[in-house]
Amino acid sequence: MALALVARAQLAIEISGAGANRIPVAVAAFEGENSLPGTITEVVRGDLARSGLFSVVELGSQPMSVTALPDFMDVRGRGADAVLVGSVVPADGGRLEVRFRLFDTQRQTELGALALRMTAQQHRATGHRIADFVFEKLTGLKGVFSTRIAYVVKTAGRFQLQIADADGMNAQTALASREPIISPAWSPDGSKLAYVSFEAKKPVVYVHSLATGLRNVAANFKGSNSAPAWSPDGRLLAVVLTKDGQSQLYTVNADGSGVRRIASSSGIDTEPAWSADGNWIYFTSDRGGSPQIYRIPASGGGVERISFDGSYNVTPRPSPDGRTIAFVTRNSGRFQVAVMDLASRQVQILTDSSRDESPSFAPNGQMILYATEVGGRGVLAAVSADGRIKQRLSVQAADVREPAWGPLPR
């Protein structure tokens, strides 16, 4: 298999937990995909299975055409509630068209159909788009199979900021450095990453355009510059600066101009994160004696304390729907990812590991990606917001850390 040759540098994803009620779905082999460098069918099946929300019903390798109705009795007999069929056909300009239809096997009705144009090399991206379609039709949630993730890989004396597809494939290096790189943050349109690099022997915030590799300094004031967070409109970065004393919250324009202080305390304020509606900035502060989570209206105003239980609650990350925050709590000496329902202030610890860091919501809010440690080595893991589905993403012989889940493609 050609794929196995490149897989060494890829993130390998294993599932260690699944949803309580997985939807049984059958994905028929796509007709006419044999000419592609790889199959669309396997991409769709893999995405759906790894999500933990589906059980992929075995349907064999016999292709089913999109033009014929599937044998509902047969597919139903295999236990599938839904079946996807598709065909790859030539289109003009040397391109290909992938037509597919999703059926409810019980009602024997079509749930949706779509056609996508692609080149043969785009079969994986097309497979992710199709999996997104199936996911949304069957769960009502946006699929995130076409998104990308950023993370930092540490090998001996070398740090690489990498970008991979959400399935861990197609990893590419955006920045390679001998000095540490931390806190990557995706711009809302997915075209740029802000991050902290120590290449100048101190933390400096950069904004890096992924397609061109061009970057600019967003914050390099006297002292430390860290913890970048994008405003939802992509115009501002919240950053933490020490130019006026202890670590405090500021905003700058993405080009580094227009620095403005947004809060002040006599202690540490750090790890800002905007709520998706742009109304709040959540952050960590030790103003009350121990590190706890607070929020401040983005337009300015009074600071409100959010976390109260325990002596170490850090790295607040609001969910896309604004109803919960993910954060890291220290619980009997273990650092674990937890979620808090903001209405009830109820906290649920989601993991049983002890070195969790850097939680990051998937853009549909269903999963939380984070860094943890297994056997002394940094790995990435993901857990569903209800704690049931668990995945681990690792790279062979390397430390992986600082994950950030990118936005939905536009």
């Binding site: 990308r148 955006a174 933390p203 061009l214 430390s224 850090v314």
Partner: protein, 181 residues
């Protein structure tokens, strides 16, 4: 006064260094990288950037002489503490005097923490350590303008085992002079 002899050499190194310090992306020659984007539906390409390396050594004899207290650069801290222990006061005093005597010298104080907890929160804690070192230097007469205090958080551990002995070495402030950062 051997200090005075070595300063000009250091200044040269500093000036030479300024032009090559990577401060913005514009002077990066982005190393070529495979463009695997192939114009796919939703996967724009990613260019690799490799930052330039730091400055070379600028030899200042007194700062490098192992028999001179100025060659010692680290101040260690207790767990969850940002107070300078008495044993480090002579060291800080020596560096404060050196800075006073060499007004063209700049110092970068890098604060460090052990590996436990949030990386960004540890940046803030490391800053408290470098600020403590800077403040102590100032109290002993070092001019504020010569010193920049920054934090490396948990990112540059001196010791990488998960043990208290190791963590103790990582809770420190390091004093670097012009040409060394």
């Amino acid at each position: 006064m051997r200090h005075h002899l070595v300063v000009p050499a250091l200044l040269l190194a500093l000036l030479a260094g300024c032009s090559s310090t990577p401060m913005s992306g514009s002077d990066q020659t982005g190393a070529s990288v495979e463009d695997r984007s192939s114009g796919t539906v939703q996967t724009p390409g990613v260019q690799t950037v490799t930052p330039g390396q730091g400055l070379g050594d600028a030899g200042i004899a007194a700062l490098k002489d192992p028999n001179n207290i100025l060659s010692k650069r680290s101040v260690l801290f207790d767990y969850d503490s940002f107070t300078i222990r008495d044993e480090f006061k002579p060291l800080i005093q020596a560096h404060a005097r050196f800075l006073q005597a060499n007004p063209s010298m700049k110092m970068l104080v890098q604060g460090n923490t052990d590996e436990r907890g949030s990386r960004e929160y540890n940046i803030a804690l490391g800053q408290k350590r470098s600020d403590a070192v800077k403040k102590a230097l100032q109290l002993l007469g070092a001019p504020e303008a010569q010193i920049e205090s920054v934090s490396l958080g948990e990112e540059k551990p001196r010791c990488v085992e998960a043990s208290e002995a190791c963590w103790a070495q990582n809770r420190r402030g390091d004093m670097l002079y012009s040409g060394e950062f």
